[in-house]
């Protein structure tokens, strides 16, 4: 029994780490512009698909293919901001959110046309020899996912709390007019926020694809799970989003193992609904109050 729980724990943390990266991407764009970017899941898919095709299609060494895929996704995220979001300047938050939904459908369509409907695999970064821990096992790739996520979460935390640039991004969300008036290039900050979110999405994609495989529509479920995680942790609280992701991954994995794997996805959304009913500001979010 306990060995099983340990096994579920490993799976849960791995999946949760992926959700955490997606949720962090949601939180960053939400923080910078109050917009929920529903194309966040497609950033994950694009990162993974680009990596698969750069590796198997052009014979590049794996690390090079991964780096290129992540770089391409960052460029994609920034272009999305520049040519779709920034163009709609003056549009309401809701209109902008609808643009992101449109973009997610568009990106899925592009991936379908470019790469087809197949489910695709990618080699593990450092072999598939399982590591035995008690009577549970862990793949090296699980460690890549956990470690990679840890490093990125710390880096994002450092960026927002200890660099002027990071604080300037936060300033844009607190008060855009005041941000303009102190000389912050608000457009550039938005570009940075989208680039950073695309980077986190792509990293999640390339790290987890060796374990979970990918396909043109893999972003839908990951996007929704990441969104649930961000809500669970408290929208707009980056570290809450990370905690929400890990928690959601653990809940899903335990439910799948102890109840039935058929309910795995349902559990995630039941959690989302419960949070929205009982604690809409999330576990770690501050109750929002408008000062007038």
């Amino acid at each position: 029994m306990w060995d099983q729980i340990l096994q579920f724990l490993f799976t849960g943390v791995t999946v949760g780490a992926t959700y955490a990266l997606v949720a962090l991407g949601f939180a960053i764009i939400y923080n910078a512009s109050d917009v929920v970017n529903f194309a966040q899941g497609e950033f994950v898919m694009m990162g993974a698909m680009c990596a698969v095709f750069l590796y198997s299609g052009s014979g590049l060494p794996l690390p090079v293919a991964l780096l290129l895929a992540v770089a391409l996704t960052i460029v994609l995220g920034m272009s999305f901001q520049r040519f779709a979001i920034a163009r709609a300047r003056g549009a309401s938050v809701v209109s902008t959110i609808i643009i992101t939904i449109g973009a997610s459908i568009f990106l899925r369509g592009v991936a379908l046309l470019l790469w087809g409907k197949d489910i695709l695999a990618m080699p593990h970064f450092s072999g598939e020899t399982p590591i035995q821990l008690g009577r549970a096992t862990l793949l090296p790739q699980n460690l890549w996912v956990m470690g990679g996520t840890g490093v990125m979460v710390l880096a994002v935390h450092y960026f927002f709390h200890h660099t002027t640039l990071g604080k300037a991004v936060i300033a844009c969300s607190c008060n855009r007019t005041a941000a303009h008036l102190v000389g912050i290039n608000v457009g550039l900050m938005m570009l940075i926020a989208y680039g950073l979110s695309a980077f986190l999405g792509a990293m999640a994609g390339v790290l987890v694809t060796p374990i979970t495989f990918t396909s043109y529509d893999a972003g839908v479920m990951l996007g929704l799970k990441g969104f649930s995680a961000a809500i669970l942790g408290g929208m707009g609280n980056p570290m809450g989003a990370v905690a929400g992701g890990l928690l959601l991954g653990l809940i899903e994995s335990m439910a799948a193992g102890l109840i039935s794997s058929g309910y795995k996805d349902a559990i995630g959304f039941v959690v989302l609904l419960l949070v929205l009913f009982l604690r809409p500001s999330g576990l770690f979010g501050k109750a929002s109050a408008e000062r007038v």
Partner: protein, 240 residues
């Protein structure tokens, strides 16, 4: 005036959709001056400052700063050129600390570490209460302290022209006096100031010259003490 104007506004109009808020405003501010713009609520004072910093677009006319046209420059470049604004209602970055607010004020000057750290010390000396609360979230400060923070934040942008929008709004009389004393002191140290105020008496009391704004047009401009003596101004804005 012997020198060229530092700020020259010529026939600037501004629209909010179909509604015209400014009707061909023209004015000048010369280096070293303290100029007040007075007028009732809704006269277009804030709109004028927003247009100068270009958080609002001018629909006609030009703005010149130091001989360079800045009408169409993006807001961050206008700040970098030396036009810094203390916005109406303070508008500090509430969740960020006092120190972070000040550091963001110097966003365009962040490459010049030496100057910035020196100026930060000077601002903390000017407003000791901010130094005391440097780690506190700006949103937790009192109105007067937030006003000091907003002024300090603008000073760190290295202004050659400081735009102040209703710095006395919502403050207790004693604090208003304190804020106006500081504004005067900054002007004596060489910062050129354009001050927008509903509190006409206090503003004209420290200003060199004044403009009276009514429904989006300049209706009067003169030396500040002449405006204080003017019969119409006294009746309309000073209440005696």
């Amino acid at each position: 005036m012997p020198s060229d104007p530092m700020l020259k506004v010529s026939s600037v109009s501004t629209h909010y959709g179909p509604v015209q808020a400014l009707h061909g405003i023209s004015m000048e501010v010369y280096p070293g001056e303290l100029v007040a713009i007075v007028g009732a609520n809704g006269a277009g004072k804030t709109t004028l400052l927003h247009t100068l910093s270009r958080v609002q677009n001018a629909s006609a006319g030009q703005v010149w700063f130091d001989g360079m046209e800045i009408t169409r420059l993006p807001p961050h470049k206008i700040v970098a050129a030396g036009v810094c604004q203390v916005p109406e209602g303070r508008q500090v970055f509430a969740p960020l600390s006092v120190d972070d607010n000040l550091r963001l004020g110097g966003f365009t000057q962040r490459k010049d570490h030496h100057w910035f750290e020196q100026e930060l010390e000077r601002v903390y000396d000017l407003f000791p209460i901010l130094k005391e609360k440097w780690q506190q979230a700006a949103g937790t400060l009192s109105g007067g302290q937030q006003q000091m923070l907003a002024i300090g934040r603008a000073l760190l942008g290295r202004p050659r022209l400081l735009l102040l929008d209703e710095p006395s709004m919502g403050l207790a009389p004693l604090l208003v006096e304190e804020i106006f004393r500081i504004i005067q002191q900054l002007n004596e140290q060489g910062v050129t100031i354009l001050l927008v105020e509903q509190n006409a008496r206090a503003a004209l009391g420290i200003a060199d010259r004044g403009y009276v704004l009514e429904t989006g047009s300049v209706v009067l401009s003169a030396k500040a003490d002449e405006l204080l003596e003017d019969e119409a101004v006294r009746r309309a804005y000073l209440g005696y």
